[in-house]
Every structure is written in C-alpha cells, then in structure tokens.
C-alpha cells in the first residue's frame, strides 16, 4: 500500500511502514545521520536526523518515525537546521579537532556536517574528554576521544559479527563505548573482523596500518574478491600510487555486505611483502635456486610422468585448497581426472 506524504512542499508516495528517512532517501532528499545504518537496527540516538512534522511540537528523528497518510514534513526549515546545528555544536565542543592528522579526514561524517552547518564548537566550550588511546593491537586504532557514541560499532559487533564485544560503559557525559570492563581490544574476545571499524562515522575506529598512508582523495578503490578463502567476499582494495595500502568494506558486496574477517580486512600486507616468492624455486644439491617458469613446469611434468609410468596414475593424489576459487578447484579436479587419470582428488575443506 502506498502512503502519500509531503516533504518540503513536494508530494511523494512511499510504501506503508517506510520511515521518513527512508522516504527521503528514496527521493534524494538529504538528511544528515550519524547513528543510522540500513544494515543495523536503528535506535534514534544521535538525533541529527530530526525533522519538523506539522502538528508535532517536538522534533522527532526521521529514522524512527514511520510515515502516515497526509503527513507534512519539513527537513530543512530554520527550526530544524538550528536544532541540528546545536547538536553538531555540542558534539564538536567535546571533540579533538585533529582533522589535519586524522585518518578519517575526507571520509568523516562529523567533519562533513560541521562544514555544511557552519559549526565551530566555540559556543559550548567546557570540559573535554581526555581518554587513553587504545593501540595495543596490530589492527584497530581506537581513539575514544573522537567517539560520538553513535552506537553503530556496538550493533555491528552483535548483529553482523555476532560477538557482542562492545557496549556502552559509564553514563551521561562520561559515557564510553568499549569492550567489557573497559579493557583494550586485545584483552577482549575480539575477532578483529573490523566490522566495527567499517561502520564508524568518525575517526574513533580506524585501520591501524593505513594511518598516514594516504588520504581518501588520493586513494583509488578497486573492488575485488578476497583471495584468502572460497567464501568469495568482496571488498575495495585501497590503492595509492600503484600500491595497495589496505582494504575497506564495499557496502554493495553481494556475498558479504560490509562484513569481512580479520584476514580479508587486515591481511593485505602480504601483497607488497619482501618475503614473497616471485619466481619458482628448484632444489639443486639441497639448496633452493630460482628458476624460470618453463623449467619448473617441465620438471614437474617429467616427474609426474615418471611416477605414472612406474607406479600407475593412482600413485598420484591432489589436495586442493579452500582458499582457491570454485573455478580453480574445478580446474584442479579436471586436471587430475582428465590429464593425470586418477580420482585421487580431495579438498582441505571437505567434511
């Protein structure tokens, strides 16, 4: 069933049960949000998406207000913009303005909205948080002073990763988001899947190994499939000057959405590792010696042929890897059956 509502003077029709925010996004009407994520449940916590509804004295959040027939909504009235500005002023007043060195600059929703609304944080100066930074693990850098307490990381951890490592602690102005007992990440049961990082709207959670490696506008994003396992997660390789500096989630990834595992998200350092093999090695007189591909493949083919001739094809078996794609594994079994001539083919992930 369609419901007709008026947003900023324009009539639009949306399905019953739609929130004002969804209705606006369907019609390209911009509403700022900090705690909303379509993949997570919505709490209406940041209050940035407030709108004015005719007949309603208060300013309800668009993300948690369902449309009704004949609703008249203002998303940009002076009253709405003033309220949003005050909320942003309050956030910025309690925020380290490190934008110059912050890894999130260029991708930061707080900085973007502050720019849009002309917010400086000067009006409400007072006490500021001075909490210790959590950098005790190799993957995630957590700066609680930049946290705007939107709660998205908490929900990503419980609703996407299913770990529930994070939650709120303390209350009021002293509230924080952290693992239980305010422990650092590496002392918690965290999987380091980085789902929390992928949803953080500000620089409170960042990929540690990317810090200082590049700005968003210098980075080319290349969508690819993760090489680590056969699940086939997609993500964006972040490439700067022809080098992969890290991985970020691609929300449109068909298999996995924003979710990844620790290897996929943080394991790309192997790409440019000096320890990587770049040529085949052949053991000669007990020592590995670099060789050409032709020489190496000829050697393997000769040895297989020898074994097959002397002992029969069933003396050869192949074990392929879950890290390979379906196609790789298909080719592997085809090779064993059609070329080598055996059914001795198995796979590490067989149960």
């Amino acid at each position: 069933m369609l419901i007709t509502i008026t947003i900023d003077g324009c009539e639009v029709s949306v399905p019953k049960g739609t929130s004002i925010l969804e209705a606006c996004r369907m019609h390209d009407i911009q509403i700022p949000t900090l705690c909303y994520d379509p993949e997570l449940t919505s709490d209406g916590a940041c209050r940035l998406c407030v709108v004015q509804i005719e007949g309603n004295h208060n300013l309800p959040p668009a993300c948690r207000t369902t449309v009704w027939q004949g609703m008249v909504v203002q998303t940009q009235s002076p009253k709405v913009r003033a309220a949003r500005k005050t909320i942003l002023e309050l956030l910025v007043a309690n925020h380290p303005l490190d934008c110059m060195t912050c890894q999130k600059m260029g991708n930061c929703f707080l900085a973007e909205y502050a720019y849009d609304y002309g917010v400086t944080g000067e009006i409400y100066q007072g006490e500021k948080r001075k909490l210790p930074i959590d950098d005790g693990n190799p993957f995630i850098l957590r700066d609680p002073n930049k946290c705007i307490l939107c709660g998205k990381c908490i929900k990503a951890c419980s609703q996407i990763q299913g770990k529930s490592i994070l939650d709120y602690s303390f209350r009021g102005f002293n509230m924080q988001v952290s693992p239980a007992f305010n422990l650092p990440y590496n002392e918690s049961d965290c999987d380091f899947c980085g789902s929390c990082v992928s949803v953080c709207p500000v620089g409170a959670l960042t990929e540690k190994h990317m810090v200082g490696k590049g700005r968003p506008w210098e980075i080319k994003k290349v969508q690819t499939t993760c090489p680590f396992c056969g699940t086939g997660c997609n993500f964006d390789l972040n490439v700067k000057d022809g080098k992969v500096i890290g991985v970020t989630s691609n929300p449109d990834a068909p298999v996995n959405g924003k979710a990844l595992c620790v290897k996929g998200r943080f394991g790309t350092d192997m790409i440019h590792s000096p320890n990587r093999l770049t040529t085949p090695l052949i053991k000669k007189d007990g020592v590995f010696v670099p060789a050409e591909w032709d020489e190496a493949l000829d050697l393997v083919a000769t040895k297989f042929q020898e074994i097959k001739n002397n002992y029969g094809a069933d003396a050869i078996a192949a074990l392929s890897s879950a890290r390979c794609t379906n196609e790789d594994n298909f080719v592997m079994q085809k090779f064993m059956r059609a070329v080598v001539g055996t059914n001795n083919i198995d796979h590490c992930a067989r149960t």
Binding site: G44, T86, I87, F173
Partner: protein, 596 residues
Amino acid sequence: MAENQRILVCAGTGCASSGAHKLIDALKLELNKQGLEETVSIVGTGCQGFCEKGPTVVIEPQQVLYCSVKPEDIAEIVAQDIMKGERVERLLLLDQVTQKPLSTMSEVPFFAQQHRIVLKNCGVIDPQKIEEYIARDGYAALKKVLKEMSPAETLEEVRKSGLRGRGGAGFPTGKKWAAILPTPSDKKYIICNGDEGDPGAFMDRSVLEGDPHSVIEGMLIGAYAMGVDEGYVYCRAEYPLAIKNLEIAIRQAEEAGFLGNNILNSGLNFKLNVFAGAGAFVCGEGSALMASIEGRRGMPRMRPPRSTVSGLFGKPTVINNVETWSNVPHILLNGADWYTQYGTDNSRGTKIFALTGKVNNTGLVEVPMGTTLREIIFDIGGGIQNGKAFKAVQIGGPSGGCIPEEMLDIRVDYDTLTKAGAMVGSGGLVVMDETTCMVDIARFFLDFTQKESCGKCTPCREGTKRMYEILDRIVKGEGKLEDIDILENLSYTIIETSLCGLGNSAPNPILATLKYFRHEFEAHILEHKCPAHSCSALLSYTIDAEKCKGCGLCAKNCPVSCITGEKKKPYVVNEDDCIKCGTCVDKCKFDAVVQA
C-alpha cells in the same frame, strides 16, 4: 485505662534512622515491667508522615500524638498516659498561634487538613502483618471484584474514576490498561514502578514500606482486569525496608491464597516478583526499567512500539507507579463515583507530596488534587522555618519547575501546574526561602540530570552538561549576559530533540527560574551579586568599624587568618585572602561583620 490500647511507633526509614527501634525496645521493657504486655500492644508502623518531628508515637484509640520521642521518655509515657490517661505535655506539639499543647492528631493542622486515601493504613498498621491489613478492609476490593464484576466492568470502573498515573506524566490509567487488551500474546506483564529517583521524593517508599498489601491488591485487580498472570515490582535497592516488607507481604499473601494459582477459587492466577534496581534515576523511565529487569543496561528506547504492545521480554506490558496501583483497591471498593468527588475535573483523587526544604513541617502529606500550594505549604506545612520569607517552591523535582510567591494560590493539579511551567511529577515539593539562590537551585537540578543522563542521545548527554557548566560559571560570578540566551536556546533544543522524558524535561527547572527569577541571573552576571547572599563566590565580608569592639574573636576563628587588627580597635578583613567561609559572621557577638 482505656481498652484496646495500641502504641503506634513510626518505624519508617526516616524515624528508624532517628531511633524508632530503640523506642520499641524501651516500650517492650517498660510494658513488661508494668505487667502490661498482654493488654497494650506495640505496633511498629510504616511512615506516619510527620518526619520533621520524628520519631513519632501515636497512642490509640485516643490518637494522642507524641513528637521527637526519646527512649528516656518511655517510662513517663507509660506511667502517665497509658496507666493514668494523662498526657505528657512536654512531648505534645504546640499550637503555632496559641502555644497550647495539641493533644490529639485531629487537632494537629499537619494531619487535620490532609485527606488520606492511599496513606490510610500507613503509620496505622503493622505492615508485616497481613491480618492488620485485612482488618481494615484489606483484600475486600479483590474479593468484590472477583465475585461480582467481570474484567471489563473492573476496567471500566478504573476508567470512570478518572485515575491518572502518579509516576509523573499523569496518563489516564484506564486508557493505559485498555491498550494492552487488543494485542494477542501468550504472556503479558504488569509492573509496579518503585524506582523513585527524584531527589527528595519518598512517597512510594513509604507506601511500599507502610502498606505493601495495598500495592499487591491493586496489582491483583489490574491482573484480573487485563488478563495478566505475572507481575514485577521494581524497587530501588536503596530501599531495603521496602523490599523486605514487600517480600514478607507477598509471602503472606501467597499463604493466604491471594497470590498464586486459582486465587479465591476464581480461576485467576497471578505471580508477583520483586526486582531490586541498582539506583539510576533513568531506570524509572518505563523502557529503561524493563531493560534493567531483562538484565540489560538501563537505557530508554524509542517508541513505537509502545510497551503495551511490546514491553518486558518483548511481551505486552502495563507499567504503573506505586501510588497509582495503591489507589486501585479504594476505587474498586468504594466505586468510581465516590472517587471522583475528590480532586478537580481533570485530576481526580488525592496526591501524596513529599514536603521538604525550608518549611516547618517536613514530611509526607496527602491532599485532594486541587488543593492550593498555599494550603499545603502554610496550613499543613506550618509555613517557613525561622520566620523567614517564602520565595518559591520547586514542584516535580528535576523535571519540574519553581513557582513564585505570586502564584501560591494556584491549584495543584496536572494541568494547572504544567501551564505554570512546573509539573506534578512524582510529587516532590521543595520549599525555598529568601536565603535560597534560584540560580544555584537551577544548577543543583541540572547537576543531577546531567549526571543521571543515560548518555544515549546527544542533546541530553552533551547539552545538559554544558547547561550545568554555564550555570556553574554564573553562580561563581563568571557568567556573561549572552549565557542567558545560550541557556534558553539549549533548553529548547534539548526539550525538542531528546529521546526520552529525562532529556525532554531536564531544562524545565531552568526555563521556570528564568521565567520567574530572571533578575537573579542578571544580578549574578552584571553586578556579580547573589541577591540571596547564598553564592559564596559572590559574597564579600567587611567589618563595620562603628560596630566593631575590637574583641578579636573573628580573627582568632578565621581559618585562613585573613582578619587583622589591634585589640580594642576595629579589625579589618583582607578580602584577597578571604575564602568566604562566613565564620567571622557567626562568631562576632556585635553583628559587626557585614556580608554582602
């Protein structure tokens, strides 16, 4: 000696802390000594309400009220009052005008002008004995309802009574109960909200301590009307006596067949649990309270869904305040028509107020809705302490506002108070006199709310903190004129955009004080003066050379030795070093120190 003599000793939390249990011990000893242990009974009751004069003792049936009784007074009370029927005059209250002793409760204005429905049994029965509750019509309403009325008729009676929630918002109780009916569910819950987090409020505690069965009976009637078989009483853990008395009452009610399965052969099943909440103001908010019972962090959530659709453990739930539940048996026993004779058109019945602050008779008072503030504060409360002038009264705690002298004649009901910028709230009434600084009071309440904010939504978490900081600066004389505008702007944003009632109402005390006492803000900011002479940072101390006799007492007592002088000559305060403690004012016997 009169027959049926009973000695009622108030053993509510207030009087217990001022020595009620020692009185009970002394009474037992004395009655034994006189051989009266069989004929005179001693009852440790719940709060009698007159906390200012506690511990209080009432002799029944004559209703003699003895105030501020000490163990050493006991022998005299027994010998003179119990045995000879003569009053111990020095322990009686004096009439404020005639200074004559008032020998019975009905002569004491504090009691005479109240109308006790909910507090009917508080301070009269032993709350740990179900027989005493039953003897005063206890569980008669339940019996009547189960025997003579259908659930729908029961609900209709509550609706007709016009009862509105006593937990703050004043939502019509019958309407709320009806809202749980349409949602089909295998399980539904009712909850009694006894979190009572407002600073200074203690009516719910007193009802739970002094008359726990009335709450249980109210919930049973609700369970019947709504078709619910399980309930919770959420009581803050800081109320150990309330929890204890409630648990005893539940056990006794189970044994008597009022709780459990097939109650009084009616087919009604009801199980009642007590949950001790660990002291957060925000846990009094319905959805936070339910999260807390479920074992989660006590944080409010957005509606919809309403709790009548998805509440405790995701099941349809009705939550009502202690006082609301406690009204229910009276309504059902006496009928809605009886109930509607009390109160005003839109606010029926009575309301309990916790009267505190600079008023002579602090304590619990129950009056019909629509009673004026003047009647409560001056007639029942006995006026302002030490003959000072009345300045304002804060109603509704941290969500309410202050009402100035000009408005003392407004009627206390939901709508009138809200219009005046305050609210009934839970019923805290804090009386302030001329020495109270209104800016400082506003700061006090903001300090409370900013600490109690759960932190979930931005305007409340960050905004109340900034409001507190600004008020703190004003109180210290560091405020700027634009701070008033900033406070007002922040107030409206917080009210309009916060997620729950805490944020929606946190700025009320500021807006009300700005409305009625703006000049006090301006005096602090522009003149660096506190008109009430209360904000220490803005006070100055000087010695009037004319009046000073040069005795040196002030200098001797000044903790930072900033007063100097020669004997017999006027002394001088070195204002740079003065820490504004005011010791010199108290010490000077000649009123020579000027505080300004």
